[in-house]
Symmetry: C2
DNA sequence: GTGAAAGCGCTAACAC
DNA sequence: GTGTTAGCGCTTTCAC
């Protein structure tokens, strides 16, 4: 707990009667160490409870074997899955991640990004919620391997999904079922994902010559409980609404609670469609109709792209991977 | 994106026509730099887009200004609040946090802890789920300032809450309302929090000469959707149960969905008590009766304790702070 | 197969 | 008020 500084390679070199280079070699799995000396060194490490100093190693290596991961809401199961996917790849490649949660705040996004740059992470994977004001992102992506998920900053590796189509399909499904008054619950930010799903919602109306009622589009800033508020707002003010399209499953889940608590039935009184197909979707009763995104794959793809970029270190053309979405029809929607 | 290494203090010293120590001084807000030279240096920093190298600084300082934060389920809003509290203190003290999510896995807990030790974080705040098998924690807490939240590893600063009393109060409340068949939904781990709340549940029964039916105690390993399963299990197998005490609000919320989806009414058919008083508690309909813990304060207290320990660096006696809990009676419980 | 020594980018005495 | 220099703990040529 205190002053006693931990042992360094010098200590273990001394104990094992070898030079520090040899000690370093056994750590780096260099083959050019005899079995005997390797054993001696390993014993010394054991006895002294040596813990390698990743900082010193990073300085010498000019590489931290760490990547930065910036997400906008850790309490959304969607991110938990993506992170899972990312870590599955990082683990096998010897990287570890440092995770930051911006809670949809631009200020935090900036702060964390700056910290990561100073900490010399080897790369960054970011879910940014901002599309227009991103000068700080531009500078970052020019300095360091950078993968953006579900944003479009141009000139950088990015993983996207067919969000506009996903949203379009969801709303078309509701229209096919005869719904005309379809509410849309979403966050109030200037992000590509949000604007794409918004476009999908609008286009599905256009294609079907259905007027868009702006009142039915409920946008609020992120807060832990905002889904409840949005749903109650809709229920209180627009009883003619027969279907809600929620920007994500998390919001859809909040809708369930607000709706069912009033004794209303899903889908009898009101149909719900979510987005993401997180684990909750099929746990809800009735099971949630939602737009599937290959969440875990988003993570693995992002991590693979980033690692490739880190290793190659050349300015190859940025890749854009667009993953498919798929409407999963379950039990929360019905025809009217 | 590539080979061009970023500028170092040497580059900016050259550009500003000063020595590297002067450059270092302006960074460390040392007063002993004349306004003029400070300005020169700041200009050079600006022009060269210099980004300080936190790694080199850490090595020289023997301090990373970073603390490690290990939690067991980032998607639980409880942790989001604690983290908020922690960051509020860290921010003012110039520390930043690196966050890891163990998803209640001992293996991950070990791995992340080891990584943090190697990365030479200045201290660690951990929510460990393990009580008995914790040799790896013991070694960690002897090397580095260490604060444990809601666990008891002995001989280390820890923040607790009156969990046994909290659970006791919750169950006593249900018993007062006339409930006799009270189910308890909890995670299946060997942690202090779990065992304390368990004791509270048992003791409340004992005190009231109410038999404990072991079948009503539903323990499962953590999974994203486990609360739904637990509730459905109870509903399917024990129709005589009139009240459920959930280990936390997150599980309680899952219960709401499972119960209300069956057309059952809370609290008419079944009463629910949660634990934590997260933001969701008062958003649910009916509003959730739950045990309040000062969540945010848990975070601030932990961070303050840790920072104190880091700064003082002396082996003062470990502090144990036990925070109060309070039953908040809302609308999800009623008498039978 | 092993050691000596330079260097990664910074901080902090210590001089002046 | 500013510069010189010796580390921090490691990796990595380059000798031997």
């Amino acid at each position: 707990m205190d002053a006693k500084l931990g042992p360094t390679i010098y200590d273990i070199a001394e104990k094992a009667n070898v030079s520090i280079s040899t000690v370093s070699r056994v750590f780096n799995k260099s083959t050019s160490v005899s079995k005997k000396t390797r054993k001696k060194v390993e014993n010394a490490i054991e006895e002294l409870n040596y813990i390698p100093n990743a900082i010193a190693r990073s300085l010498a290596n000019k590489s931290s074997n760490t990547i930065g991961l910036i997400v906008s809401d850790i309490s959304n199961p969607y991110f938990a899955s993506v992170i899972d996917g990312i870590e599955s790849i990082l683990g096998t490649e010897g990287y570890s991640a440092i995770l930051c949660d911006t809670r949809y705040s631009l200020e935090r996004e900036k702060k964390y990004l700056a910290q990561m740059l100073e900490k010399r992470v080897d790369g960054i994977i970011i879910f940014s919620v901002y599309q227009s004001d991103y000068s700080f992102i531009k500078t970052a992506k020019n300095i360091i391997p950078f993968v953006s998920i579900q944003s479009d900053f141009g000139e950088t590796d990015t993983i996207n999904t067919h969000d506009e189509k996903g949203a379009y399909d969801a709303v078309q499904h509701l229209i096919d079922l005869g719904h005309k008054n379809i509410a849309f619950m979403l966050y109030d930010y200037d992000s590509m994902t949000i604007s794409n799903r918004f476009k999908g919602y609008i286009n599905a109306h256009r294609t079907n010559d259905l007027p868009v009622n702006k009142n039915y589009i409920v946008k609020m800033k992120f807060q832990p409980n905002v889904g409840f508020d949005m749903t109650n707002y809709i229920l209180d003010n627009f009883p003619e609404v027969t279907a809600i399209f929620a920007y994500n499953d998390k919001l859809a889940m909040s809708s369930y609670i607000a709706i069912q608590a009033r004794g209303l039935k899903i889908p009898d009184t009101i149909s719900i469609v979510g987005y993401d197909d997180t684990e909750i979707a099929s746990c809800l009763t009735p099971k949630l109709t939602t737009v599937e995104q290959p969440i875990y794959d988003i993570g693995t793809n992002a991590a693979e792209l980033l690692i490739k970029r880190i290793k190659e270190r050349e300015n190859t053309i940025p890749k854009l991977i667009t993953l498919p979405t798929k409407l999963i029809i379950r039990e929360s929607t019905r025809s009217v």
